[in-house]
Assembly symmetry: C6
């Protein structure tokens, strides 16, 4: 049985890195380059909640159509459409503007869905699109906080996806989202022995301990699987590490 | 026989890296520095479809005149003009503005061509020119999505070429195209032993596995040929790798 | 017994690095990346003062709600709510605008709290939010100085938290806060042997000596604990050090 | 006898690198830092055409006066003034504005010269000055294409000189000229054993193969001479290579 | 006895590095990161002049209150307040605007002080604040020159402090102050063996020779003390040097 | 006896690097960081001409007063004031604006001086100040060319000093002066064995050969003296070289 204060992510190895999953009701940032598996982890997290932990989920997508998500999830063995029909999941394809105004209105479809399903988990794919709301870093951070606090208030465990455009993990984030969330998980490409491997690191977990190692992971049928920590390399987070002398 | 859910690219070695070609109906980004062979791969992909797989193609070019493309393709043994005469291919020399408005109008020449030929494959050479449509990154991404979703809706497998101006593979893309597409393929120069070699890496394939190695490739008569993975070097993607200790 | 001219931080090892704690009445900058423990050290510093040194404290937070701080502190064994009830601590959730105008008015709630509790220690979480007051670096520095001088005038020992967004420790600070304060403490991530370790360095202590070594630290139950100095690495402050030959 | 489909450059070793010279009627970019010999190669190319291959040439210069060019060419043994008198060469000292408008008018002196001399080769020294025509990258690329397509239409083999201001070979080119041309040749300084050596690399040749090695070259009496490939160094194109282990 | 053409700085080891102190009547730039001891050296220089060399001093401070300076100086054993009472020193807390206009008016308090005390040494803490006068680099340099020439005209030996925000020593100085002064002294942090050491280098001394070595220094009771040159390291001025092979 | 087509610089070792001095009537760029000796070389070049080669000189200074130049030159044994009195030298302290307009007017003091003295050598200290004339890179380059061509037309050998603000030798030059001149000489700081050494390299000499090695130099009494080439280091031009393996 899982810890009631924790939301198991259902990602083999990642829950262990987080010492038992995300802290229930907290907001975690999942940041990664294109193709590192952000959306896969997001769906895995929601599937674990809806299908196994009795925690209904909400997936807010700004760019991918629901049918694409259904198809990609099915390839991993997750029947998201079925979960929707059982009212254990709701996929909302919307815009950042609508999301923000919806959260301000208890009658909006998103607010209703949260209430009716009793949503316990949410994924936003991706927070980067909130940058379209404003060019002002201060207002952007305010939007981040509004969203995060709104989710916290509902007791929802949130996984916020973010597009990572460079080696420095907060460089491109005008709103400094990494400071506003409770946890930060990084997904990275790492070139080792002429192979583009994938690396995961948990950087921050407010109110909890976590595994500090940088681990290899794979996207397999059934979702993301965390593997062993890297060995004998320096500068993994630069993306082009060197063999340690 | 090829997998019906896949569009073979016809590039020796690349279809294997993609585990059977591009996923039919998906949009792939092919990003490369000048001279790395983007247009050659684009023509190879269309020729494979039109001449061998019974998948008519559309080539949208913003800068190269059709006669130049005919000539360069012929040097590889691909008779694009002949395929056009057989209504298996259509080469359109146009502007980004016209392309975008054409896709909005079912009566436009491009929309008609797609319908009449039953286009199954498309190449856009290059997406970088879409940056001329707007200076606003949000609008640019919206243009990207409009184009990609339009092609997906038609069930067209799209290869979107993009000009790479630096070592960091998404740095110069204001619209973050790499996040919007289903697959990302990189073409790079790599300086090894005082020779400018060419490297290819598949970075992302939504809904499929792929070869993660960074491989050498050559542009030969007959088109691009993928060779062995590099060996004994660190930092290939920086362009100036070092021998691994 | 502690030095009357010093404010013990209560962080095991850090007071030794500072040769006896912060200089009483001075302003120290604590700069760190997300998740490096800035807020934890801030609460530890206030708890030490309020619960053990009879030095009432003020915590100004711009982003974290008091109940989150209560909860996170309790996890370390610090009952901040209890200290508030004993008038040994005041947590103020406010905006940078209100903070600045409050300090100008002796009747404001913040000024009253400082007077009524006899505040001797203050934490501002975080100074980075003061950047929302103005885009002009000169005005920003003026706000910094106004705040720092106001606290100094009251004889308050201040710990000013700051969000660190890159490897160069003053690069992102338009107002050059590090030059305006009396002491600078850095918290950093350092990748060593595929593990994200945490490093602390004291860079500047006006009017005092300090330990110049770069030390490992951990966030444990009970707060931050400083460990041994790193060994055999070059470039720790770059975040991706190398083994020294 | 030379290949009729090729324009021999007359630069010892470079024609071999290009597998027989530039493709007749194509446009090549020759990019280099100050003093790497761009103008020398340009004059050598025109002299080879006018004096040896019966291919009259046009040299468009935006900054160097004809008498300076005569003098510098004579030092290499090339009598440009004599070739002008024999109507085998025309040197035009003009501005980018005049060049662009001249190409639009068949009666302009430049258009007349092209027609009267039967110009087969052209050098533009340098394309960088076209940046003065506009600040808009899109318009700039349009000017590049207008010029390149105009020369291609006349069947002229063009060598377009470009000022290289940094180690990344397309970084400073707002109009991304390297993507618009048929071939790219780089001239670089390379620091080896405390000596500033010169390096040449052919990066791109549309419709042809080329030597991929990075070679040393010298500017001697008689013009540029290509030497052996570099050996035992990594990172030549950074300008400060290291000895390979 | 000291050289009459020289102003001894009173910093043990630094006068030797300067071959006998600053040249009398010249302007030297002292540039350093926060906490490297700029103000300490400034006070040491003025104390040496006022208390030992019969050269009255002027300290212009834009940010630190006199009482803070008194206190910090006393900790080193320098009684600045006493020197003020003996009319051997004047500490002026002012703004860049007032400083600049004061120098234009012979009746201003600063001009009067210079005349009445017979000021021979001046410290400006710091020149970086002059950047608040204008955003125009040309006007800024003009302000620099106005100040420097005004001090030179009075025969005053000036030590101009400057805040260093990065590894490249003139990068952040819009007005290129280092070119306008007669001497440049750098104070730096250098990470060696996991310790933040301090380094000093004299870069430029117009009209004099100087020690070119990069030396370690410490801030001790009694002020800054220069130690031995570093050994066996490359890249000291990057801040993160490496052991030389 | 010196080559009549050459202007000996009088800098021991540099004339050999230039294969006999600057080409008479050409314009050379001397670029260096603060304190590397640009002005010293400039005065040395003028002294050699005026006192030894019967080539009267003109020194245009935008920032240093003549009396400072007299004093600094005298310290090297060069009596510039005496040469002025013999009408072999003219030092003009002026502004970029006046310089540019003077060259357009044959009656201006500068034009008169050139005519009356029969000026054969000129130094401009420094070209960087011409950046104050305009923010437009195109106009700036036009000013550069106007000045350079004006001096060439008079047959004057010009040494144009330029302030170097970074490791990349043309990065900060909006007007790309290095492309407009006939020769480029670099002065640099190089950190070797914890010592700030000075390095000189000749990068470009239009119409002549030159020594390609990077050499150490010193500023001694009597002026700049070129020493041996560096040995066993890589990356000298980065300023922080490494020992070659």
């Amino acid at each position: 049985m899982s810890d009631p204060g924790r939301a198991l992510m259902g990602v083999s190895g990642l829950d262990e890195m987080l010492c038992g999953g995300l802290i229930a009701g907290s907001a975690a940032l999942l940041q990664g380059a294109p193709g590192t598996g952000k959306t896969t982890v997001g769906m895995q997290f929601l599937y674990e909640g809806a299908a196994k932990q009795d925690e209904p989920g909400l997936l807010v997508s700004f760019e991918q159509f629901p049918h694409t998500l259904y198809r990609d999830a099915l390839a991993h063995g997750w029947d998201l459409r079925g979960l929707e029909q059982q009212s254990k999941l709701r996929i909302v394809f919307t815009s950042p503007q609508v999301l923000v105004s919806s959260l301000q209105s208890p009658m909006s479809p998103i607010s209703s869905a949260i209430r009716e399903l009793g949503v316990k988990r949410a994924v936003v794919d991706s927070m980067t699109h909130l940058q379209t709301l404003t060019r002002d870093p201060v207002q952007l951070r305010s939007h981040y906080n509004f969203l995060i606090n709104g989710l916290r208030r509902e007791g929802i465990t949130a996984l916020l996806l973010s597009e990572d455009s460079g080696p420095d993990f907060v460089r491109s984030d005008r709103g400094r989202l990494a400071f506003a969330v409770d946890a930060v998980i990084l997904l990275r490409y790492v070139e080792i022995d002429s192979v583009m491997q994938r690396a995961i690191a948990v950087l921050k977990t407010r109110g909890s301990d976590h595994d500090k190692s940088i681990r290899r992971f794979e996207i397999a049928r059934g979702g993301v699987v965390i593997r062993e920590a890297f060995q004998g390399r320096e500068g993994l987070l630069t993306g082009t590490p060197r063999r340690t002398r």
